[in-house]
Structures are given as structure tokens and as C-alpha cells.
């Protein structure tokens, strides 16, 4: 890429300083500012969800028992409060944090930069998506303050149709948030199709964008199903239309089909962007061309397609027929293969690299290890005979946290450290960044690994109380959450510090090859003075001894 160093000399006014005042942010249509607003919002919702998780785990520190003297000990909250806490934790983490996290924050910021465009295709729709997100968030918070819901994030009927509380409001919040996600997805699909700079062929598209592209397709196609499902549920609750409630002549299991028809693809809405980030981290911080570009790009698309056909693996013990179970189990294994291929490609990319053990790389290595555990333990759950035993136990809780936290959230923080200098033009304290990454890795395993053991021993999930033989596992698990909390406190400190007096960085501090690094850090308002012409792939790093990758 020819333009790498040319812009380094004279710092021009960046997008951050181009306009002043709070209004210039609130009505901005600059994708970078919208990305930053999303970033601030999802960091806030992550903090909220994290505090809720700490409270959930605190309750589980000890079983609630009645002593011989008749005293009740061990309970911090009542069962009703506990159930609201874990439900809210799940809802916040899924709908307010993880689904918008990578696409809306980093996707927004870097997508146009990476393809050499001035903005996304529909800048106003982009701003609208942000405000729709804010409205949905406010609705969810309102429902929480108005009593909260205790249905679990899955809203299974007939419980959700009959329990009292602001369920309709919460469901409508998720409905509204869905639109935000559809808007973002649409915008990205069109932008990637139509606005690539000259020379930016599909084969030169950074893999992060292939992943965002696949994600967007799922968002646009699957989210309406969630919308319809939630609307039907709201209709049943508000108007007594019998759809899911057997007392009204409905079918409770139908809800589960609808719900997972959206929510399994949604699992890939959550993980694919994280996978995209991985392809950037392992290449740039090892100065190494990606291994298996095609396989990684195509596996994203394969995952997007097959993910629509596996929803029934959440329902092996719901009473669905043995043969339906058989088909869903088989397809589940098929969708596992593309994910496995990606992991192996990233590991192979490290081979022969020049690996810098900085914060982005430490997060990337955490991903490789944690996501591998998450993926491998998924085999137990896709297998019919073993899933019967493990379904709805803590084994599943551990599994999906290894995938969603160990995968997506870890990638999210990798991305935060990778693109932070680009977004704000300043470096963070690298020593503390490494400490925080390592502390998180330890804390995460301490929290979640014991959950595999207690789960396969039979500890069911969504349990306010438990039998005493599980106490030691719960104690270890709860202590791990404090380490995780500590690692994020450290991170908050050094990042705020960096914003205020971090060392200024050049356009391309990591020596990366993709286009977002070709413009200054932080970028100017219009990204590039003139639309760049692309002549190389995004991972064409030089080789020691002179020759480049083919």
C-alpha cells in the first residue's frame, strides 16, 4: 500500500476536533463519531451487565440453608430478585451489549476506512440506528425499574405469557432493538457492495469485513423472525390471543421453535464479528499474511447459511421427535467444521511470524485458547446422548460463556486495544494493558471452568439455591469474578489516562497493511483526502530477506 507514510508529517484536524460542542456529536452523521458513541454506549451496558453478573455470582457464594436454630443463612436476595438479576444480566449482555458491540462500534468506525470510502452508504440511517438503539435501551431500563422481568432472556412460554410484570415492555424493547440491528446490517451490506475504493476487489477485502458482511446478512434475515415472535407473545399477553399458551389452545413448544430460529443464527451474529477481528489481530501483530484467506472468508458465509438450519439443537429434550433431533444434531456438527477451520487457520498464521506479545496479541491468544474450549465442549452438546444429560445444566452456562465471553468479548477487547490508537490517536500504558489481559484470562477460567464440572455432575442452571455438594465449585467460580472485575477496573483506569495524556501515535503504529492505517490517527473527518487506489491485499506483509507473499 503506497500511502502508508505519506500522511504522517502534518497532523491535520481530526474528526474529533472537526466540530465542537455536544450537539455536533448528537446529530453527527460521521460514521466515526457514531462508532464512538456506540462504543461508549456498549461499554456502559457491559459495565451494567457485569455488575449484574457479580451480584448473581455473589448470591451463589453459599447455598441458602436453615440452621438447626431455625435461622435462614446464605441468601443475599430473595428468589424473585435473583431471577430478575440473571434475566436482566442475560438481556443486557445479549441485546444491549454483544449484538451491537463489534458491528456497531468497530464496524461503524473502521468499515468505511478499510474499504477506502468517505462514509457508509446511508449516513442518516446510521444515526437513526443509534437512536433506535437508545430508545430500545431506555425501554429496557424502564421495564427494569417498573419491576423487572424474571422470564430468563429466552422468554419461554407459558411462563412469560402468564407471569406478572412488565414483560410486554421488555419484549417491545427487544423488538425495537432489533430494528437498530437491521438498519446497521442493511447499511453495511450496501456499503460493502457499492463503496469499495478502486482496486478493492472482494479478494482484497479485509477478513474483518467478510465477517461483518456475513453477520449483516444474518441480522437482516433473522431479526424479523424475532420481531414477529415477540409481537405474537405481546399479543397473547395483552389481548389473550391463544398462540403459545395451551390454556388458550396454543402450543408452548411453538414459541421455542420461533425463538431459536432467530436465536441460533443470533449466536453467529454474536461470534462472527469476533472471528473477523481475530483475522486482523493475528496478522498485524505477527506481521504475517493470513493463512487460508479463502477458507476463512467462505467459512463465514457457510456459517451464515447453515446457522439457519440448526435451531432444534436447543430442543433435544423438549419433546421434539427423535428424528428431528437426529437431523438437527447432524447439521449442528456440520456448522462446527467451518469454525474449527478458522481456529486452525489463525494458529497456522502465527507460524513463522514476528509475534509481538502486546495487548491485542494477548487478547487474541486468549481467544484462541478460550474459544477452542468453548467450541470443543460444544461437541458434547451437539451429541444427542450426552446433551440429554447436560442440557440446561451449568455445563451449558460454561460452554456459552467460553464462546461468547471467551470468544466475542475477548475479541472485542482485542479490537479495542488494536484500534484504540486509530480512534483516539493516543497510546495506552502497555504494561498495565498486558496485566489486565492476563488477569482477565486467569479470572475467566477460574470463574467458568468449575462450571463445566458442576454441570456435568448435575447442577441445573437458573438455580437460586443448590444442594451442598456443589458449594466448593460455586465458591471458586464466584471468586473468579472478582479477578475479572479487577482486570476491568485496571483497564478503565489506563484507558481514561490514555485519553487524557497518552502518547500521540503515528498513522500506522502497528505497521499494518489495511487501509484504515493509511490515513492519520485519528482520521480526518472525510477519512481520506482522495479516494485511495488499492494495489495489494490487506495482509501483504514483507518477508525477512525481501520477498513478499504472492
Amino acid at each position: 500500500m503506497a500511502t502508508t507514510e505519506t500522511l504522517d508529517h502534518a497532523q491535520e484536524v481530526s474528526y474529533l476536533g472537526a466540530k465542537k460542542g455536544i450537539m455536533s456529536w448528537l446529530v453527527t452523521i460521521d460514521h466515526k463519531r457514531i462508532g464512538v458513541m456506540y462504543l461508549a454506549s456498549v461499554l456502559a451496558t457491559f459495565t451494567l451487565g457485569g455488575i449484574l453478573a457479580l451480584l448473581v455470582r455473589a448470591e451463589l457464594w453459599a447455598p441458602n440453608i436453615t440452621t438447626e436454630a431455625g435461622e435462614a443463612v446464605g441468601a443475599l436476595f430473595s428468589a424473585d430478585v435473583y431471577n430478575r438479576l440473571f434475566t436482566l444480566h442475560g438481556l443486557v449482555m445479549v441485546f444491549l451489549f454483544i449484538i451491537p458491540s463489534v458491528p456497531a462500534a468497530f464496524g461503524n468506525f473502521v468499515l468505511p476506512l478499510m474499504i477506502g470510502a468517505k462514509d457508509v452508504a446511508f449516513p442518516r440511517l446510521n444515526l437513526a440506528s443509534y437512536y433506535v438503539y437508545v430508545i430500545g435501551t431506555v425501554m429496557a431500563l424502564y421495564a427494569t425499574i417498573a419491576g423487572g422481568v424474571d422470564t430468563g432472556w429466552t422468554f419461554y412460554t407459558p411462563y412469560s405469557a402468564s407471569v406478572s410484570g412488565p414483560v410486554v415492555m421488555m419484549v417491545m424493547a427487544a423488538f425495537v432493538l432489533g430494528f437498530s440491528s437491521i438498519f446497521t446490517g442493511l447499511n453495511f451490506i450496501v456499503t460493502i457492495h457499492k463503496m469499495r475504493a478502486p482496486g478493492m476487489t472482494w479478494q482484497r477485502l479485509p477478513l474483518f469485513l467478510w465477517a461483518i458482511y456475513a453477520t449483516s446478512i444474518i441480522q437482516v434475515m433473522a431479526t424479523p423472525v424475532l420481531g414477529i415472535t415477540l409481537c405474537l407473545l405481546a399479543m397473547e399477553r395483552a389481548m389473550g390471543v391463544g398462540i403459545f399458551d395451551p390454556a388458550l389452545g396454543g402450543d408452548p413448544v411453538l414459541f421455542q421453535h420461533f425463538f431459536w430460529f432467530y436465536s441460533h443464527p443470533a449466536v453467529y451474529i454474536m461470534i462472527l464479528p469476533g472471528m473477523g477481528i481475530m483475522s486482523e489481530l493475528v496478522t498485524v501483530h505477527a506481521r504475517k499474511t493470513i493463512f487460508g484467506y479463502r477458507a476463512i472468508a467462505l467459512s463465514s458465509i457457510a456459517i451464515a447459511v447453515i446457522s439457519f438450519l440448526v435451531w432444534g439443537h436447543h430442543m433435544f429434550v423438549s419433546g421434539q421427535s427423535v428424528y428431528a433431533g437426529m437431523i438437527f444434531s447432524f447439521l449442528t456438527f456440520l456448522v462446527a467444521i467451518p469454525s474449527a477451520i478458522k481456529v486452525l487457520n489463525w494458529v497456522a498464521t502465527l507460524y513463522g511470524g514476528s509475534i509481538q506479545l502486546n495487548a491485542p496479541m494477548l487478547w487474541a491468544m486468549s481467544f484462541l485458547i478460550l474459544f477452542t474450549i468453548g467450541g470443543l465442549t460444544g461437541i458434547f452438546l451437539g451429541t444427542l446422548a450426552t446433551d440429554v444429560h447436560l442440557h440446561d445444566t451449568y455445563f451449558v452456562v460454561a460452554h456459552f460463556h467460553y464462546v461468547m465471553v471467551g470468544g466475542t468479548v475477548v475479541a472485542f477487547f482485542g479490537a479495542l486495544h488494536h484500534w484504540w490508537p486509530k480512534m483516539f490517536g493516543r497510546m495506552y500504558n502497555e504494561f498495565w494493558a498486558n496485566i489486565s489481559a492476563v488477569l482477565f484470562f486467569i479470572g475467566f477460567n477460574v470463574t467458568f471452568f468449575p462450571q463445566f464440572i458442576m454441570g456435568s455432575q448435575g447442577m441445573p442452571r437458573r438455580y437460586y439455591n443448590y444442594v451442598e455438594e456443589f458449594e466448593v465449585f460455586h465458591k471458586i467460580s464466584t471468586s473468579g469474578t472478582w479477578l475479572i472485575g479487577l482486570s476491568f477496573i485496571i483497564m478503565a483506569v489506563y484507558l481514561i489516562q490514555s485519553l487524557r495524556k497518552g502518547e500521540k501515535v503515528s498513522a500506522n503504529p502497528w505497521g499494518a497493511r489495511s487501509l484504515e492505517w493509511a490515513t492519520q490517527s485519528p482520521p480526518i473527518e472525510h477519512n481520506f483526502h482522495e479516494i485511495p487506489t488499492v494495489t495489494e491485499g490487506p495482509y501483504d506483509f514483507p518477508k525477512a530477506g525481501g520477498k513478499k507473499a504472492h
Binding site: 428468589a79 419433546g319 437426529m326 502465527l350 509481538q356 506479545l357 484462541l368 446422548a385 455432575q457
Partner: protein, 315 residues
């Protein structure tokens, strides 16, 4: 070995049903496979991170290999074959877990927030499940309110319990003992307290206690069903001796194969009978008029259960 499985292992609770060992064998296989791949992948990551660590700022990569068809084909197809093998193995064990042997001892399970109730063929009702050892036991379960799920970790048995339909599980416990039952489908404030026990008794002790201890005065379901047959008006259209009235006779009905007006077929089981009583128009028996009234909202669940129990006795 026996004592080890009786106490459970690091990962698994004790094996107390005939197929628990099969499930665990598969679990162990996947487990060791996981260990292998985990060590290989983590090992490679750590090894590369040390070996190719950047030692000076301007150090470049020593390789820029972008793909290798052989390696890529290998790591696509080998895992594919492995998971297909696991799938087949898992399905076979699952079939055995799902399909109760003929003639299994049948107990009706009723779940409601927040308790479990077990009804035996002789009408006894208990809050803990008593079963004879060395005997296949089939549970026919339904819920009176929400979703619940019946989970016995020691048996490796689990199934959701759904209002308005029947689900089944079966198991055979080779040894006497006690095993905890959890509810594993979230059902509100009492979910984590919705526990019960399976108590496996030697055969003769089971018989004795079933006859003496558990009868609580309620009439057995089949007897209640016989009364409903006339009191609810079924007898107007259904005979029990094989003669054809408006509708088909119930004699020998249970377990037969039915052909419907639209050409489809189904086996007569609990769900089919329930559906026939509640939504008779869904499946109209071939050769009969669609004139069976729906009893939706008129018969309670226990009454439907009783009718079904009665129909089953009409051999």
C-alpha cells in the same frame, strides 16, 4: 470399577441406570478427544508465541505462506469424519434412551409449580418416585401449568414436561438406592426447590409397599375412566366390545396403527388419544364421519388421563 461408578467420577455422577454406562463411554470418548485437540492447539499457540517472539522492533516474519491445500484439506475432512462418527454413536445411544422397551412398568408423572406427583397403575399417588429394581420403568409425564423438566443426573435421563401433551422417559435401575430429581426447565421462584427423589426398591418390597402404603383412597385412573365412559357420554358413540357405533370401538384400540381420511397414518399412543379427545378434527379415522365433538375445556387433565388409562385396559 463397580465402586467407582457407584460413586461417580470427577466429571460424572454415579451410574445408576442401565444405559448410564453407554452415555458415559461416549462422554469419555469426546472428553479425551477434546483433551487431545486442546493440548495440540494451545501447545501450538504457546510454542509459536515463544519461538517466533519479536525480539527487535524491525524483525519481519520468516515465512509468508498463505495456504497449503494438503493441510487445509486434512483439517477439513479429518474433523468432519470424527464428528460424523460421534454423531452416529450419539444417535444410537439416544435411540436407546428414548424408546422404552415393550411392557415397561408405567408411572404417570404430573408436574406443577412446584412439585412432582407420581401416579401408579393401581391408583396410588406419591410425591417421591418409587420403582422396582431391575425393571424397565416408563414415565408418561405432563404438566398442569408451566414447562418443567424431569432430570435424574444419576440415570442420565431428562425430558421437558409440557402442559397439554405427554412426554416420556424410561430407565431401568439395576440396584436399590436413592437418586435426586431436579427440575431443569426454569419455572419461576420455586424452580430451584422443585426437587424430588427416585427410590429404587427390591422387587418384592416394592410390591408390598405399593399395595399397603401408597393407596390414598383416590380411585385408580382406569376405574375413573370407566365411569367417565358413560358419564361423559362417550358410550353413545363408542363401544367397548368391538361393535361399530357412530365412532370406532375402543376394544383393542391402544397400540394399533390408524389410517386417516386424508391418507396419513399414526400409531395409537397417549398423545394421539389426547389429541383425538381435544382436537378430533385433526385426525379423522378413515371410514368414519367427522362427528366427534371436541372435549377441549370440558374434561380436566386428570379425566383425560383416566380415560386414556381406561382405553388401555380394553384389550
Amino acid at each position: 470399577m463397580a465402586s467407582e461408578t457407584a460413586q461417580g467420577s470427577f466429571w460424572m455422577p454415579p451410574e445408576a441406570s442401565t444405559f448410564a454406562g453407554d452415555v458415559d463411554a461416549l462422554f469419555d470418548f469426546i472428553y479425551w478427544l477434546n483433551v487431545f485437540f486442546f493440548v495440540a492447539i494451545t501447545g501450538a499457540v504457546v510454542y509459536f508465541a515463544i519461538k517466533y517472539r519479536r525480539k527487535s522492533d524491525d524483525q519481519l516474519a520468516t515465512s509468508q505462506v498463505g495456504h497449503n491445500t494438503l493441510i487445509e484439506a486434512a483439517w477439513t475432512f479429518i474433523p468432519l469424519l470424527i464428528v460424523i462418527a460421534i454423531f452416529v454413536w450419539g444417535f444410537r445411544v439416544f435411540l436407546n434412551q428414548s424408546v422404552a422397551p415393550d411392557g415397561a412398568y408405567e408411572v404417570k408423572v404430573t408436574a406443577k409449580a412446584y412439585l412432582w406427583q407420581y401416579t401408579y397403575p393401581n391408583g396410588a399417588v406419591t410425591g417421591e418416585l418409587f420403582v422396582p429394581e431391575d425393571t424397565p420403568v416408563k414415565l408418561v409425564m405432563s404438566s398442569e401449568d408451566l414447562l418443567h423438566s424431569f432430570f435424574v443426573p444419576d440415570f442420565r435421563v431428562k425430558s421437558d414436561v409440557v402442559p397439554g401433551r405427554y412426554t416420556t422417559v424410561w430407565f431401568e435401575a439395576p440396584d436399590p438406592g436413592e437418586h435426586v430429581v431436579f427440575c431443569t426447565e426454569y419455572c419461576g421462584a420455586g424452580h430451584s426447590g422443585m426437587m424430588s427423589k427416585v427410590i429404587v426398591l427390591p422387587k418384592d418390597e416394592f410390591q408390598e409397599r405399593l399395595e399397603k402404603d401408597f393407596i390414598d383412597g383416590d380411585i385408580p385412573p382406569a376405574e375413573m375412566g370407566a365411569k367417565l365412559y358413560t358419564s361423559a357420554g362417550c358410550s353413545a358413540c363408542h363401544s367397548i366390545n368391538g361393535t361399530r357405533l357412530v365412532g370406532p370401538s375402543w376394544k383393542g384400540l391402544f397400540g394399533t396403527e390408524r389410517k386417516f381420511a386424508d391418507g396419513s397414518t399414526a400409531k395409537v399412543d397417549e398423545n394421539y388419544l389426547r389429541e383425538s379427545i381435544l382436537q378430533p378434527m385433526n385426525k379423522v379415522v378413515e371410514g368414519y364421519p367427522p362427528s366427534m365433538p371436541s372435549y377441549q375445556g370440558q374434561l380436566k387433565d386428570v379425566q383425560i388421563d383416566a380415560l386414556i388409562a381406561y382405553i388401555k385396559t380394553l384389550k
